[in-house]
Symmetry: C2
Subunit: 318 residues, 2 copies
């Protein structure tokens, strides 16, 4: 099969479409013919050598895709079934092996491209904000990077859950996108300090910045607030004021989806289908796709992410 292969370490530009062996199936896996593969910032980090591949996972990039079952392996699935897939790797290819617990139905009315754009963000955001932090109707929800792949989904999900949604982003255009998606409080982080605007007001924070925002996030938390860090774009080590956190009875979690074991992923996939798929079916959440590219242009896609010119998601078509 054809797949994207990195020919030079730490060089994102060195991605090429090459012939590689088609994956063989382990027990409980199906082989999926990939029609569309979602692009994630983690893919960029991986090409830069900043995101080690979990042991046992495919070396090929790609954390989500949509396509057709080509070989159901030892499962009860049917050849030809259309599926969306949460992957631990391997999506930037013509075929990928997927544990059955990571298969999701294509959301009602979605194309392969749309389905491929939603899997990773839906599982990430629901597992952290719905399952872990337990966002509730009427609460205030802060989404950092509201116009990114994670952000555009999280804003809509927050609104669908009845929360008041605040966002940060770095440009007026991206703020306008967030507003269209329903965000209530719009903060350009280049002009305003979000912690001043939202001091003691935020019940749940979805953080992708890490160290650089730690102090400000704790300041923004309300009583019993919960911040969840899923990205470290602003560094790893920061000062935590435990006294302030204690006065607020606050909670800080930091999580990653990719390193979870199969059983844990299956649990999250099932919960995400139950909670989020109805919101996709009735249009409360719509995919926000900046543009699509052919699989061969994977390097271009990651370059665009790196340049910060993307609003919402990029998808590769196979």
């Amino acid at each position: 099969m054809k797949a994207i292969v990195q020919t030079e370490e730490k060089n994102t530009a060195s991605l090429e479409l090459q012939d590689v062996p088609t994956p063989t199936l382990k027990p409980g896996e199906v082989l999926v013919e990939v029609k569309a593969a979602g692009v994630n910032r983690a893919d960029l980090l991986q090409t830069q050598g900043n995101y080690p591949v979990p042991p046992g996972a495919s070396e090929i990039l790609g954390l989500e895709c949509a396509g057709v079952i080509a070989d159901p392996g030892d499962t009860d699935r049917q050849k030809g079934e259309e599926v969306a897939c949460l992957l631990t790797g391997g999506g930037y290819a013509e075929f990928v092996a997927v544990p059955e617990g990571q298969l999701m139905p294509i959301p009602e009315g979605f194309s392969f491209v749309e389905a491929a754009s939603i899997v990773e963000v839906a599982c990430t955001v629901w597992s952290n904000i719905g399952m872990l932090a337990g966002l509730k109707e009427g609460q205030t929800f802060l989404v950092h990077g509201g116009a990114g792949g994670i952000g555009t989904f999280a804003v809509q999900m927050g609104k669908a859950m009845g929360a008041k949604v605040a966002v940060t982003t770095g440009s007026p255009e991206k703020l306008a996108t967030c507003q269209q998606l329903g965000a209530d409080i719009l903060i350009n982080y280049r002009e305003e300090d979000f912690a001043e605007v939202l001091k003691n007001k935020v019940d749940v924070i979805l953080d992708i910045i890490g160290a650089k925002y730690l102090g400000q996030n704790v300041k923004a938390l309300a009583k019993d607030g919960h911040m969840v860090t899923i990205g470290l774009q602003g560094g790893v080590k920061g000062e935590l004021n435990l006294g302030l956190l204690l006065a607020k009875r606050g909670t800080i979690s930091a999580t990653a989806l990719r390193g979870r074991d199969d059983a844990d992923k299956a649990r999250i996939v099932a919960a995400t289908i139950e909670a989020i798929w109805p919101m996709l079916a009735d249009g409360r959440i719509t995919p926000h796709i900046d543009h699509t590219l052919p699989l061969a242009d994977a390097a271009k896609a990651l370059k665009a992410l790196e340049d910060g010119t993307v609003t919402g998601k990029l998808v590769l078509e196979v």
Copy 2:
């Protein structure tokens, strides 16, 4: 009535038994004649000026007591009913006003002194370890200061819940006490680094040290581990490695019981009676009382806590 009054700011030794007005009841409160009042480290901090009294709370020390209802106010309680009470203040006195939601039955077979020793630790430890961190059978549970008031209770509760319990404390005598209470892993923090002994092994941490242990606590956490800070004996601001926390999918909470509103306290009191009172009734948890003193000797009691000579709890008899 008689109550303990502090005559000089920040001087713990200046506590005196004086005549003060008996409290008047607000709606939903009962008047309790205090028979025994538990002593807590927070009382010491309050006399030192390091623990501001929450708005609206009694200026008199004392966060827990046991006694007899002297006036049921507008509630359906009976005069003469024996009760244990979670207080927001006011326990170092002959009478105290208590919101009905903070009344607990005297645990089966307990004296007033024993009951007064268990209320605050039971509500604190259960709300954090049972309700918030969700300690489960078979997990590893680290209790810092295992021989203190909080610690002696937490070790026994951990064992009763089927956890493997690790403790830190600063002397061989206190370690021996922890072992008698059932602790499985005994660490003298003056001789060993608990983070080395327990690296990546601990599912739930009950932390009373704060900043000084933050890095080590994160190091000790296992995958999906949860640390809860309830005390800041080792300072307030520490460095947090969010990258390490993310790799472990870890959670850090910091909470305090005293500042919660009445509804929240009532919720915790009810849950604690349900979960913990059966463990007290059948002896899985026994009160660990160092010694008792007359109410007039409150200053002596707090001095003993400050000197670090106490194992388990001190109780004042009225």
